[in-house]
Symmetry: C2
Subunit: 252 residues, 2 copies
């Protein structure tokens, strides 16, 4: 299984601390990593087909505090599709003049949808196939970029059709919001005023967010396994789809 | 004006030497840089909205010898579109289950094509608009990935329609070949056996390719201005479209 990490903030925020903790899990998940940073509508996607522990690309990401409002990262343990760049998450496409980024943890069985629109997989993972199908169905459901609640409503219809084929923990962002679906395992927390110290689960690294932030900052972090040992992580329910915007989970 | 650098090899080759020389020109072209590396059908695209001389992303690219068979790099001096990630070349889209990467040097005037298919610009440059139009017209001309000669023939019809609007030096790759069109300025060379020493134009750095290569290696380098002072660079003619595959310019 792979691991997912997502971030949505109300202000561009760097992910150095969380990504450092996430990378310590790459020993077991050594078949590549990727991370996408939205900066407004623009996106940059760093991928490497080697482990996030040893990749020079991951090292650069840990050292260079890229400030972003929406981030999706993934470390891969190959289940379907060979270890190659084209099979490395996250995947990216353009729809309605916006970039969309997607990453998946799980395994889909007997999933062979008809792709009749203009989104085709380049690699051979079930994950990229699911993403292409999602993009196709979104493009059929709306004529141009819908509002966040409209998109959430459409995704609530589409995602269960994918999850019916197996394990489907996933994250999707278009730079405006972060959607996360839990099939088996996903946690989130909101960091906001009053900020406190947080200590990584797997390494003796801690950061005092009170010193790093301003009182108005707010950021939601979503991850396969809690990253810190002294913060209040909330478990998703199986089958739950949440949308985060402005650093908060939205109710609708 | 911006500057372009492209590479097409018959074997995955690193571009550390050429990219180092290319980055020395970033003082004047300081509004961002980008570089796309194909590894088979997979691609990774590194972009930064700061100068290639100071960007930590560019530093990582100079230090990490990523081996690739097709590379397109760009350093930007903004003419149309603000300095932002979404306006930073190269641009990337997927068509027929292949990734396509495009970069442009020049300026198009009165260019407002009808975009009725599924390729829309995310930023607001004339370059990304031209790329979206090219992808649209290619998708109309062929039902699936055509052969290199077929694609070249289609591009020979399409590119002059863009060049009619202004300066259109550009590079395009799908990981199989590199297409380069010269409107005003473009040079290329082929490095092959017997390999020799080459010295960068702008810095006292030289490399003896005889020590770095095997006799069967062959690589074509295409660039806005010759990178080295002791190699035989060939100038493109204005209006010329060349395609490089296997490290050689093809005749058709």
């Amino acid at each position: 299984m792979c691991q997912l990490l997502g971030m949505n903030g109300n202000t561009p925020t760097d992910i150095v601390f969380s990504f450092t903790g996430f990378c310590t899990r790459a020993e077991e998940h050594k078949d590549g990593f990727g991370i996408a940073f939205f900066e407004g509508p623009g996106v940059r996607l760093f991928v490497d087909a080697q482990s996030a522990r040893t990749s020079p690309v991951a090292e650069m990401v840990r050292q260079y505090p890229i400030r972003s409002d929406n981030i999706i990262a993934h470390i891969r343990k190959a289940t379907q599709g060979r270890i190659a760049l084209e099979n490395t998450h996250p995947f990216q496409r353009e729809l309605w003049g916006r970039y969309w980024v997607f990453a998946h943890n799980g395994d889909l069985k007997n999933f062979a949808p008809r792709l009749h629109a203009s989104f085709r997989p380049v690699g051979n993972t079930d994950s990229e196939l699911a993403f292409c199908w999602l993009m196709q169905e979104l493009s059929k459901a709306h004529a141009s970029v819908p509002s966040i609640p409209e998109l959430t409503a459409t995704l609530r219809e589409l995602v269960p059709q994918l999850a019916a084929h197996g394990t489907f923990n996933c994250m999707l962002s278009n730079g405006e919001a972060l959607w996360a679906h839990c099939s088996t395992k996903l946690w989130y927390l909101v960091r906001q005023h009053p900020f406190q110290r947080a200590t990584l689960q797997d390494e003796d690294i801690s950061v005092n967010f009170a010193e790093e932030t301003s009182a108005a900052d707010r950021v939601a972090v979503v991850v396969t396994e809690p990253l810190t040992r002294d913060e209040n992580w909330v478990a998703f329910r199986p089958g739950e789809l949440k949308v985060f915007a402005g650093g908060l989970p939205l109710d609708h």
